[in-house]
């Protein structure tokens, strides 16, 4: 729980995550929802906000939003669209269609791998804006020669997921975003790429003295483009606020921008010139009113989510959730379960999946994986040999017995090792005496010698076992 905060201070974070939905078309028109096309080619009167045009909601986007809501344990009910009014050139209508006091999803939670549940206040549907490019020396609006706007992104469906300020550590903040990504990927509603902007995270950061009940003034940190920056930005901001308090100053409520290059947050809009968005119900759209059958259908169609999958695998492997979380994150939990169910030792399955299969499973099948683990467990192969065979099975597939034979691999049997070790004791009496006297580093010498004469095909565990037996003899 190290937040790199000064003693007695507690970190309070709430996250607002914008997710671009991967629907084929935009939220309110038939234009293609596609990243990277020639500017202003995926546009029409509706997403350009031309006079007289009207929005028609994309049902697929609504279903996606409701699926996400249910996955986040939210209540999904009647919702209405609202207009958020403010002037900006990349917003074609100079208002954004969003949801305000009656969002599609309310009051849910996201369970983190650590078991902590972070409350979700709401997850609402809204449209994205276009993109402004300021042309000129600075790349900023001030000092630019002119600006160009690309409306291809205008009207792309977004879900904004707002957490309660229940995140207490930087690791939790990162875990929250990771876990949310896992849910989005499982639902297949977004490609969830933070670097490409299909997930955008704003962090509301405040601090307070541990034990206080009231929340203090928060700042909203924007422009965070990776998990790493998220952590750095929160840490910087929390310490900035603590410094102010310790100098008897009070932070002002404002939006601040994270500057990756110099690792600081800088003030954006302050409260004084904060806009009044004059929200009101969008009169061009009708309320969304899902009936119980729709909600049931959505619930039945939900895939299993990381939290459940972690629980399932942990139970099956009889291990702690934290030990298998990585495997679920990689999506290898189904494979692990199948291998364990074929009779392989869970500990070894998890060990290999965690350490030796991070690049993917390739041609490996659960059956082959299970027999390999059995060979390793019965000391037919040493762990070094097993690792080598495993690598080959990933590349080529096949049965581990055949691959081991192909490589001429088989663990040297115990009798043979005993003979070898007896010979070594005779050949190196001084070293043996030192070993028996408790000089543990000499053990390495004997293991090394055995490995040398077996060309590495001996099982280290067995060698150590024999050496220790000899001492007690």
């Amino acid at each position: 729980m190290n937040n790199n905060l000064k003693d007695d201070w507690e970190l309070i974070v709430g996250l607002e995550v914008h997710v671009e939905l991967g629907t084929k078309t935009k939220l309110f028109c038939g234009c293609v929802n596609q990243f990277g096309d020639e500017p202003n080619t995926n546009v029409c009167p509706v997403c350009l906000g031309l006079p007289g045009s009207l929005p028609v909601v994309n049902e697929k986007a609504v279903i996606y939003a409701m699926q996400l809501g249910r996955a986040l344990n939210c209540s999904v009910g009647r919702s209405i669209f609202a207009r958020k009014n403010y002037f900006y050139p990349d917003m074609p209508k100079d208002y954004q269609i969003t949801q305000y006091d009656q969002p599609t999803n309310m009051d849910g939670y996201l369970e983190l791998p650590s078991g902590v549940k972070i409350g979700i206040e709401r997850a609402h549907i809204e449209e994205d804006t276009g993109k402004t490019v300021h042309v000129g020396s600075t790349g900023r609006i001030s000092g630019s020669d002119y600006s160009l706007v690309d409306y291809n992104r205008a009207g792309v469906p977004l879900i904004e997921i707002v957490s309660y300020p229940e995140i207490r550590t930087i690791d939790q903040a990162k875990e929250y975003v990771e876990e949310l990504r896992g849910v989005l990927l499982a639902l297949e509603v977004s490609d969830a790429k933070m670097e490409e902007g299909s997930i955008r995270v704003d962090a509301n950061v405040s601090v307070r003295i541990e034990g206080e009940d009231e929340l203090r003034t928060r700042c909203e940190i924007k422009n965070v483009n990776s998990l790493r920056s998220l952590g750095r930005a929160i840490e910087y901001e929390a310490n900035r606020q603590i410094d102010l308090y310790e100098n008897s100053e009070i932070p002002s409520q404002e939006t601040r921008h994270w500057d990756e290059s110099d690792g600081r947050t800088r003030p954006g809009r302050s409260k004084e010139d904060a806009e009044d968005y004059r929200y009101f119900q969008e009169p061009d759209l009708v309320p969304l009113n899902p009936n119980t059958e729709t909600i049931e259908m959505i619930d039945q169609g939900l895939p299993s989510f990381p939290s459940e999958r972690r629980m399932q695998l942990a139970t099956l492997a009889q291990m702690d959730v934290s030990e298998i979380a990585l495997i679920v994150e990689r999506g290898h939990d189904g494979f692990a379960a199948e291998t364990i169910n074929s009779g392989a030792a869970p500990q070894v399955v998890i060990k290999h999946l965690t350490n030796n299969l991070s690049d993917g499973l390739g041609e490996l099948t659960p059956t082959a994986f299970a027999s390999l683990i059995q060979m390793e467990e019965s000391a037919e192969l040493t762990s070094t040999q097993a690792k080598k065979v495993l690598g080959e099975l990933v590349l080529q597939g096949g049965r581990p017995q055949e691959v081991a034979a192909q490589f001429g691999l088989e663990a040297v049997d115990t009798d043979e090792l005993e003979t070898l070790i007896n010979q070594l004791i005779t050949d190196y009496p001084d070293e043996w005496e030192r070993f028996c006297g408790g000089e543990k580093k000499v053990q390495g010498f004997f293991v090394g010698e055995v490995m040398k004469s077996t060309r590495g095909q001996a099982d280290g565990k067995v060698i150590n076992q024999i050496l220790n037996e000899r001492i007690s003899d």
Binding site: P51, G52, L54, N85, F87, P89, P92, P283
Partner: protein
């Protein structure tokens, strides 16, 4: 001398029938109306754009199609004038605002498409109060329209150009939009039929929005039957408008001559003297209309819609609130007028300052204020409550009555400049028409009488949503009673 209705008064229905039978050519018909425009448009100024060339080409095409034996729609060869806030592909659509003076939409409004499919010939785009904000068509950036019955008078508004175009014989039918009475009030002042359909009955796709929850497109015509024909053409579900009603409406024409025998008709007492500012003459003529209906077998009774007392206040918060948002897009960035500035904000401000007229600015400010944090509940929120209350009032009344009757406009056409100095006197013009917009119900204004000044007086017939067939039936009864009298 005012142009008045042409001697050879013809209906859209008869034009279409005769064009289709080959008896008349669409070009000949068009030329009659074009020559009327040529003679009197300079006095009336009903149009922002007259589409002589385009209309001729379209009429020729219609005649060709008739000659080749094609089956044409119910408005074949009928010239039609369309309000300048409906998008017409490649044709200037200005909403009578400097900010869109030269804007040419890349698409047709759904209504315009439907008119074309029905064979109509678009003869021009009509003048209006800027962005439909006004009741006299004096708020046009391109100068006012005058009432064909008396050129010193206003035609009403905001669809004054469309009303005047029909009254002056520039077109047999026209299209307007009605947010608080903008079709019915000018219809009454110009002596023509004007209809505000059920909200959602006609697609708003391609209508430059004023107040989206109130706006509805509807027809002007010389006869109730023509209005019903045009209404059937432009109505129906449109997947491009989410507020469009998907259920089909019963035919507006089938029962047109079935009379009013046994119908329970309520006269709205608040609009018959309950609210100040409605002229006794207009109230008297509305009572005459009730007597006519009674003589035709309807049961007439006074009814109260208590919330109508607050309609004007509610409307002048809701409509400007929505307008303040709808008109934000005219920022100089993408289309229309741009007046440069040192910064982006300055460019936005310069453009809007120069592009919008005073009434539009006034309503944007009113609406922005009504929606502001700290004021929302006191203004916009309260206005919505009145709206809900009004809907309850209507529900209750319609549980006992089939139809409601009231004046359309509190007075006959007034003089140009008479009410421009005080916005409040102008706003009161909508007092009888606003309730239907707030609840989304249909209503029609039918010319019924003339005032002492010789200017037309219309009466308004209101019915529950989707009951337009009944509305046209009652209107038709009143119309024929009037013509029998003459």
């Amino acid at each position: 001398m005012s142009p008045s209705v042409p001697d050879s008064f013809v209906t859209a229905e008869s034009i279409s029938e005769k064009v289709k039978s080959g008896e008349w050519s669409a070009v000949e018909i068009l030329d009659k109306y074009l020559s009327q425009i040529e003679q009197h448009e300079s006095e009336v100024h009903a149009f922002n754009t007259v589409l002589e060339g385009e209309a001729r080409a379209a009429a020729r095409e219609t005649d060709k199609r008739v000659a080749s034996g094609e089956t044409l729609g119910p408005l074949a060869g009928v010239p039609i004038a369309v309000k300048d806030n409906l998008c017409t592909k490649g044709i200037r659509t200005t909403a009578s605002s400097r900010i869109l003076e030269n804007w040419k939409p890349p698409y047709d409004a759904t209504v315009v498409q439907k008119l074309f499919s029905a064979g109509a010939t678009l003869i021009g785009k009509t003048n209006m109060d800027e962005f439909a904000m006004g009741s006299s068509t004096e708020n046009s950036a391109f100068g006012p329209t005058r009432n064909p019955h008396d050129l010193s008078c206003v035609p009403g508004g905001s669809s004054g150009g469309s009303a005047a175009a029909v009254a002056a014989g520039f077109a047999p039918i026209s299209i307007g939009s009605d947010t608080g009475g903008s079709i019915r009030q000018p219809a009454s002042l110009c002596g023509v039929v004007g209809v505000k359909p059920t909200y959602g009955g006609v697609s708003r796709y391609g209508l430059l929005a004023f107040a989206s929850s109130l706006d509805q497109i509807g027809p002007f015509a010389n006869t109730v039957r023509d209005a019903a024909i045009v209404h059937e053409v432009i109505g129906g579900h449109d997947p491009k408008d989410s507020t469009s009603i998907s259920e089909p409406f019963p035919s507006f024409l089938d029962g047109l001559d079935h009379g009013v025998e046994g119908l329970k008709i309520g006269i709205i007492s608040e609009l018959m003297g309950g609210i100040e500012g409605i002229s006794p003459e207009v109230i008297g003529k509305t009572r005459e209309a009730a007597s006519v209906l009674s003589a035709n077998g309807a049961l007439i009774e006074e009814v109260s819609i208590p919330a109508s007392l607050y309609c004007l206040s509610s409307y002048y918060l809701i409509a400007p609130a929505e307008a303040s948002s709808n008109l934000s897009r005219y920022d100089g960035v993408r289309y229309g007028l741009r007046v440069q500035g040192e910064t982006l904000a300055e460019m936005n401000i310069n453009t809007r300052t120069n592009g919008f007229g005073n009434e539009v600015k006034r309503r944007i400010m009113l609406g922005t204020y009504a929606l502001s944090a700290g004021y929302y509940d006191a203004y916009y929120g309260k206005a919505l409550k009145v709206r809900r209350l009004l809907a309850q009032n209507f529900d209750e009344v319609y549980s006992k009555f089939d139809v409601l009757l009231s004046p359309t406009s509190p007075c006959t056409a007034f003089k140009l400049g008479e009410k421009t100095s005080d916005p409040m006197t102008m706003y009161v013009n909508d007092v009888c028409t606003i309730p239907s917009n707030l609840v989304g119900h249909p209503a029609i204004s039918v010319p019924f009488a003339s005032g002492n000044d010789g200017m037309p007086i219309g009466v308004q017939i209101l019915v529950p949503p989707m009951q337009e067939a009944l509305m046209y039936r009652v209107a038709s009864t009143l119309e024929s009673a009037k013509s029998n009298e003459q």
